[in-house]
Each structure stands twice: as structure tokens, then as C-alpha cells.
Amino acid sequence: MSAYIGKRLVDAFLTILLVLSLVFVAMRVLPGDPATSALGDLATEDQLAAFRAKMGLDAPLPVQYVVFLWQMLRFEFGRSFVSDETTLSMLATALPYTIELTIAAIIVGAMIGIPAGVVSATRRGRAADYAARGLSLIGFCIPEFYLAALMLIVFALKLDLFPIMGGGDAFPDRMYHLVLPALTLGLVMAAFTCRLTRSSMLEVLPRAFVRTAQAKGTTERRVVYHHALRNALIPVSTGFGIYILTMLSGSIPIELVFSRPGLGNVLVNAISARDYPVVQGCLALFTLFVVAVNFAMDIVYVLVDPRIRAAA
């Protein structure tokens, strides 16, 4: 088991190194001069050169790369070229907003998607099944930013139930500001979860242990939720892990539309300004998160599935 974990840790480290290297190269290959972005179009060549020297942008690329990796290893993300804030403080301010959105959306997605999937599977071919499948199809098709705009118009503008923008201040206000973005992101996730749960349940329901439970006179509710669903949740949890990763990128347009001060907002602004330290810091954080989730999923598989444990 420890050898398995050690191997996964080495994999994780190499993945992080590879992604960070790609980020470094991508930012330098991307057209656009960070000095011009920071100083504006009126800056003279002397000013631009002084800026590049100050920020180390005039050093040869291999030197910049080594400095970059050394900084990353020490969790030194540098200062924003544009605002001169430390990248770490920018990320620390933005991260809680993204985390709370992601967690809330997962809860919404699971609370709606799993029961809908179960109902759809247990009532296969009936109205509830068609409704659940139809709605999940719509959830797949509708772009998140469009759904976000619809949510704003209906629930914030017309019904005046929720605020339109911002992330909120104190805890109740933050939760209040979280409802619509989380619902938007969560509904899209619910569509995915519903279909995944349905197909998994349809695989599990005909199995012998389910029939045995029914034959023993167990109530229908207990058969479905205690016996069938517990087994059906193994592939669902895998799908969940993958979806959480895609949800990070999905949260970017949601943060923009709802004007939430999260990581997505910071990242988009930094890319357009060619603010290398902030882009690198954001993507390093995203990478760490993705790798950590993958690592956690690997460990969960081992704990859940004895066959993988034996192989490990």
C-alpha cells in the first residue's frame, strides 16, 4: 500500500512539473508583451527595457525557467507585474470564493442529480424517466454562461430574490450571494450526475444480490437506496472526481457573469494583461488541486475496491 502511495506521489510530482513547464512555455510563446501591458501604449522603449530588466524578463529563457522552477518549489509566486501585489495574497483573497462555489455546486449537483438518476432508473420508460432524461439533456446542452444569464434575469431581476453581483461580505451575505452561481453550476453538474447514476443503477438493479434482497422481503425503498445505490455509487464517485476537475474551469465563466471575485476572475484578467506571475500562480494552484483530487481518488479506489487494493 505504501509503495502504491509512493508511486502515485512521484506521478503527481512529475505531472505538476510537466504542467508548470507547459505553462511557462505557453506564456512566453503567447504573443503580447507584458511590459507594454503593464506600462501602456505610451511607454517608451527605454521604459519598457527598464521594466523588463526589473522583472527579469530580459534574461535568457533557460535562466528564467530555472528561476521560475526554483520559485515554484519554494511557493514563491512573485508579485503581479500590473498591480505589484504579491501573487500569493491575490490568490489567498480569491481562493475562498472559488472553493465555496465549487463545494456548493457539488452539493447542489449531488442532491439533485443522484435522486433524479435513481428515480429515472427505477421508473424506466415512464414519465419520470423521460422527464429526468429530458432535463438532463437540456442541462448538457445549455452553455453555463447562458444559464447564468437566465438565472440572473429570472431570479435576481424579475423575482428580485437574489443579488446580481459580488461575493458577499459576512457569512450570511456570502451564502446569499452564493445561491444563484451555485445553482447554475450545480444544475449543469446535476445533469451529468443524473445520467451517470441512472446508467449505473440500471447495471446494478438486475444483479443477483438485488433480487436476493427483494426475495427476502426487504422494502423497495431499502432495496433501491441501501443495496442498489450503494453499489451504483462506485462509478458515480469516479465520475464525480472527474467532474470536480472540469468544474474548476466551468466556474470561470460563472464567476465572470456573477462578478464573483474568485480565481477565474483573477486568471482571466492576468492572461489578458500577460501578468506572468499571477497566471503562473493561478495555474500552479489549479494544477495542485487537480493532482490532489486525482491522488485522493486513487486512494479512495484502493479503500473502496478490494481488487485494486490487492493489485496495489
Binding site: G32, D33, T36, A43, V82, M165, F258
Partner: protein
């Protein structure tokens, strides 16, 4: 169908209680603080010497006092009618080489940084001129040879050569906001995020939710503002900004400079006040004279005749401003239609355009490629031009790219028919400086400024007249020379100013700015703003 179970009844009760416990959003009627929606993800620098985006200036305008300014809401730069803000008086010597300025006495900086003195003004101007500061506005302060202190409140700006327009470029609300020497030296780079000025509002905090928060400065020399403060909120998404305004969460928003936006906002909020700052941005379209077929004057003129001003005007409505010469009519000496001979007005004439193309060897038209920025104003204009050119057989194949990359490519001379947007003070030579002089011609290494046509380099330009203008101390004579240069440009047609596109804002009708906005940069003071009862 099942009845109401205890579980579902509890769920309904919980949801009702939770909803009723939610805090209600504060409407404009409940507060005396202006909420201003900025179209950005964040402000970058609140140091006025190092403003990085237009929205930074929207904020710094409220925190700092400028020396002088045109009457609020105008671009009227007659020196006799200027508003004296931090300055009490300004005298320009007859040779236009010396500006003597006296500051108001008793003006205070925020946060206990003491009285505003001539030493602070000298420090501000010297700092703007210093290459080490890295100010993008340094170009406006390069003509200054020295800033001399005369006494505690008086100082003198000595120029290298005559310039009767220096005040309009360098002393109004653009960068010349007086900074406290002590605060800048103490805070260093931190000044960008915690600025100290002497303006009507003092900086309170930058908050990820509330944006930049300012509060009214009790000891402001012009009297404490009527509102308690201003919150500049970050709302980059135009839909969210519009909806937040419609709902009353924002009192004022930056508009979207796209065809139909003002109509949309009027439809959604019929009572909204629309503020337009004329002339707005100049939209220069340059022919790359080093690329065929744009080296042929007949082709350039054909394109001009193919462009129908009415189409642009109909599309942009309120946002549209006619430009007949290079400078908009709002600039001193700017041409109007009536001032120009018919052959230089380039009135829409597709038949003439086709005839010129045939004479140039393109009876069936031609095709060329051009990149455009993804920014909404660039997109709108170029798509309209593309459609008009298609009517005379010219196929402009557009490729949309990200804004920074677009500028990088154009600055490396990769353009053919290049649109560039530029907002300047209403001084007739500024568009020459950036877009028409030989020294501003772009090159493959990224040198030059915004002369994408290579006018003056690929063919004789206006550099000789420009030298005369720069040596001329008399403002009226400068204007005559400027008009002469404009006529030459219209004859040579290396570039044209397709339209001026006004900046647009929507405002809650309860919010009275204290003056009417007719002309301005894209930012203006809120010192006189108040909420009506």
C-alpha cells in the same frame, strides 16, 4: 398522487424560513453612497502616474486634485475659462515657454499628510518626467526643461520649446494630479494600492466585493461632497452590469460601445440617464502604404468612397460622432463638413469607388487579410467596414484575435488596413504625434508608435508642417498650420478617422452629477454628485 408528508412540510417550512432570513439587497434609496459599476475585473494601479487602464483613472480622478481642468463636463480648453482646481492661477508667458502657477493656500492632503505645497507639485511633475517612474504619460512631460520653486505656493514650469497647449496635454485631469511627496516616499510601490490625494474623496480600501471604496473627504477645500462615498464595483460582464443597473444595485455603469446598447438600456430602464462623453475615442483606419495595393492612391480613395458614414451613424446612434478631417470637430480647429472642399469630404459614392478600382487595375475588386481585436468597439466598426467594402467588390478577410496580441501584431507591422482606437486631449497635434509622423512609423521589430501607414516614411508626409507647428508659440497660428496638415493628409489619404465613438454611461435618474456631461475623457469628477430626494 401522494399527500403532504411531514417530511415535505418540514422542508417547505425550512426553505421559507431560510429565504426570509436572507439579507435584502440595499437599493439606491437606502444609501447615500454611489455605486459605480466598472467594466473591469479589478483596478490595477491607483497611482495616477502609472494608471494602466481607463478605469484606474475613473477612480483616481476622485481621489486627487488636478492643477486645472476644462469646465466640468466639457472639453473647452480656452485658458481663460479653465476651472482652477489645485491651482489658484496660471500664467503663460508670451513666448509660451514658461507657465507660472500659484496653488490655493490651505489645501490639505488626506490622512494627515499636511498641506499641499508647490514642492509637492514640483515633486509630481518631476516624477512624471523621470524615466525611472515608468509613467506611460511621460511623453506629455518631456517638453519640460525644469520645474522651479518660487515660494511655498508658487512654481514655474520652463519648457524646452514654445508650447501654448502644454496645459491641455499635461496639466488637466490626465496624470497631473498633485501627489504628497511624503506619502509617496513613505509608501513606495504600496502607493498604487493605498493612494493619498487631496481630492474630494479619500481612499478607504480595496475590497474584493465592494471594489474600491472611497469616502467623502471632510476637509476638502471645495467643501465636503454631498454623498458619503463612492464604491467602484468590478462588474466586467456587460449583461450582469446592465442587469445590476436595471435592478438598482448600481447607480452608474460603464456602457457598452456596441450598436444598439443605448436603445436596449432605455428599453429596460426608461428613466435611465445616458451620459455621453464627446468626442470619445478616435478610430483611425490606416492603409499600410508598404503593402500592395494600398500604395496606390486610387485604391485608398476607392475605399474611402465605399464607406458610408450614414451606415456607421445609423448603427451607433448616440455613440457616433462625425469626423471630417483627422481631428473631430470638437477639437479647436477641427473641420466640419462645410469647411472642406467636396473632393476631400469623400462623400459615399460606390460608383466612383468602383471606377477608381477599375482604373487601378481591379475591375472585379480584390481580397486581403486583416486581423481585428476581439474588443467590442473594434469588432463593431470593422464588421461594418467589411460589409461596406464588400459592396464594391473588396473582400476584407477578418481574423479576430485577442486584444493584446492584436496590438503586438500591428506594432510589428503585420497590418494591412489597421483600425486603432485612441483617446487624446483636444489638441490638434496629438493624433499626428501618434499616428502620422515618420518617427511614429511601426517596424517589424515593434518600434515606432501607431503610424501603421508608414506615412512620412513610405511617402512624404506632414513632418515639415509639424516642425513649424512645434516652433509656433501662437495658438491661433498653430491651429491654422494644423488644418493645413490635415488637408494634406486628406489629399494623400494614408489614414482616416472613421468616427469618434463616444464613451457611454447609464445613470440612475436620482443621481445628479451637478453638471451636464457633454465632452470629457472617459472619466469625470463626482465631487458635485448628490442623490435627489
Amino acid at each position: 398522487m401522494t399527500g403532504l408528508t411531514r417530511r415535505s412540510a418540514l422542508a417547505v417550512a425550512f426553505a421559507t424560513a431560510a429565504t426570509s432570513a436572507l439579507p435584502a439587497p440595499a437599493g439606491a434609496a437606502d444609501r447615500n453612497t454611489i455605486r459605480f459599476g466598472l467594466a473591469v475585473q479589478r483596478v490595477n494601479s491607483l497611482d495616477p502616474a502609472i494608471n494602466i487602464q481607463g478605469e484606474d483613472q475613473t477612480v483616481t480622478r476622485q481621489i486627487f486634485d488636478t492643477l486645472v481642468d476644462p469646465p466640468y463636463g466639457t472639453f473647452d480648453l480656452d485658458p481663460r475659462g479653465l476651472v482652477m482646481e489645485a491651482a489658484e492661477s496660471m500664467e503663460i508667458s508670451p513666448d509660451a515657454k514658461t507657465y507660472t502657477i500659484k496653488l490655493r493656500e490651505g489645501m490639505l492632503f488626506h490622512k494627515g499628510y499636511g498641506e499641499v505645497t508647490a514642492d509637492d507639485a514640483k515633486f509630481t511633475l518631476d516624477r512624471l518626467r523621470d524615466p525611472a517612474t515608468g509613467s506611460g504619460y511621460r511623453i506629455y512631460y518631456e517638453p519640460i526643461e525644469d520645474v522651479k520653486l518660487l515660494d511655498k505656493y508658487r512654481f514655474q514650469i520652463v519648457l524646452k520649446q514654445p508650447d501654448p497647449t502644454l496645459y491641455a496635454k499635461a496639466l488637466i485631469a490626465r496624470a497631473a494630479f498633485i501627489l504628497p511627496r511624503k506619502a509617496v516616499e513613505k509608501l513606495g510601490e504600496g502607493f498604487r494600492r493605498a493612494p493619498v490625494g487631496s481630492g474630494p474623496f479619500e481612499f478607504e480600501t480595496i475590497d474584493p466585493n465592494r471594489g474600491v471604496v472611497l469616502k467623502a473627504f471632510e476637509q476638502y477645500h471645495g467643501g465636503k461632497p454631498a454623498v458619503d462615498g463612492v464604491e467602484f464595483r468590478y462588474v466586467p460582464d456587460s449583461t450582469a452590469r446592465t442587469l445590476a443597473f436595471a435592478k438598482g444595485e448600481l447607480d452608474m455603469i460603464e456602457g457598452v460601445r456596441l450598436p444598439g446598447w443605448t436603445d436596449d438600456i432605455r428599453r429596460q430602464v426608461p428613466t435611465a440617464k445616458i451620459d455621453l462623453t464627446r468626442p470619445g475615442s478616435n478610430n483611425m483606419v490606416s492603409f499600410n502604404l508598404t503593402r500592395k495595393p494600398f500604395d496606390d492612391i486610387r485604391v485608398r480613395k476607392a475605399i474611402r468612397y465605399a464607406v458610408d458614414r450614414k451606415v456607421l451613424k445609423d448603427a451607433y446612434g448616440d455613440l457616433y460622432g462625425d469626423v471630417w478631417g483627422i481631428n473631430p470637430p470638437e477639437y479647436p480647429g477641427g473641420f466640419t463638413s462645410a469647411d472642406l472642399p467636396a473632393e476631400l469630404r469623400y462623400d459615399y459614392d460606390p460608383a466612383k469607388a468602383k471606377q477608381l478600382l477599375a482604373e487601378a487595375g481591379f475591375p472585379k475588386g480584390f481580397a486581403f487579410d486583416q486581423e481585428i481585436s476581439q474588443r467590442e468597439d473594434f469588432q463593431g466598426i470593422m464588421l461594418l467596414l467589411q460589409d461596406m467594402l464588400r459592396q464594391v467588390g473588396i473582400d476584407m478577410r477578418l481574423k479576430t484575435i485577442e486584444h493584446v496580441r492584436f496590438h503586438t501584431d500591428m506594432n510589428h507591422d503585420l497590418g494591412t488596413l489597421v483600425l486603432n482606437s485612441e483617446t487624446t486631449a483636444p489638441v490638434g497635434t496629438l493624433l499626428f504625434d501618434s499616428s502620422l509622423l515618420k518617427s511614429a512609423a511601426v517596424d517589424a521589430n515593434g518600434g515606432g508608435r501607431s503610424n501603421f501607414s508608414h506615412y512620412g516614411a513610405a511617402m512624404p508626409g506632414i513632418d515639415d508642417i509639424y516642425a513649424q507647428i512645434m516652433a509656433e508659440p501662437d495658438l491661433e497660428k498653430r491651429i491654422v498650420l494644423t488644418r493645413e496638415a490635415e488637408l494634406r493628409v486628406l489629399r494623400d489619404m494614408p489614414a482616416w478617422n472613421a468616427l469618434s465613438l463616444h464613451w457611454v454611461f447609464a445613470r440612475n435618474p436620482r443621481l445628479d452629477l451637478g453638471y451636464e456631461i457633454r465632452a470629457s475623457y472617459a472619466y469625470f469628477t463626482l465631487m458635485k454628485a448628490r442623490f435627489a430626494a
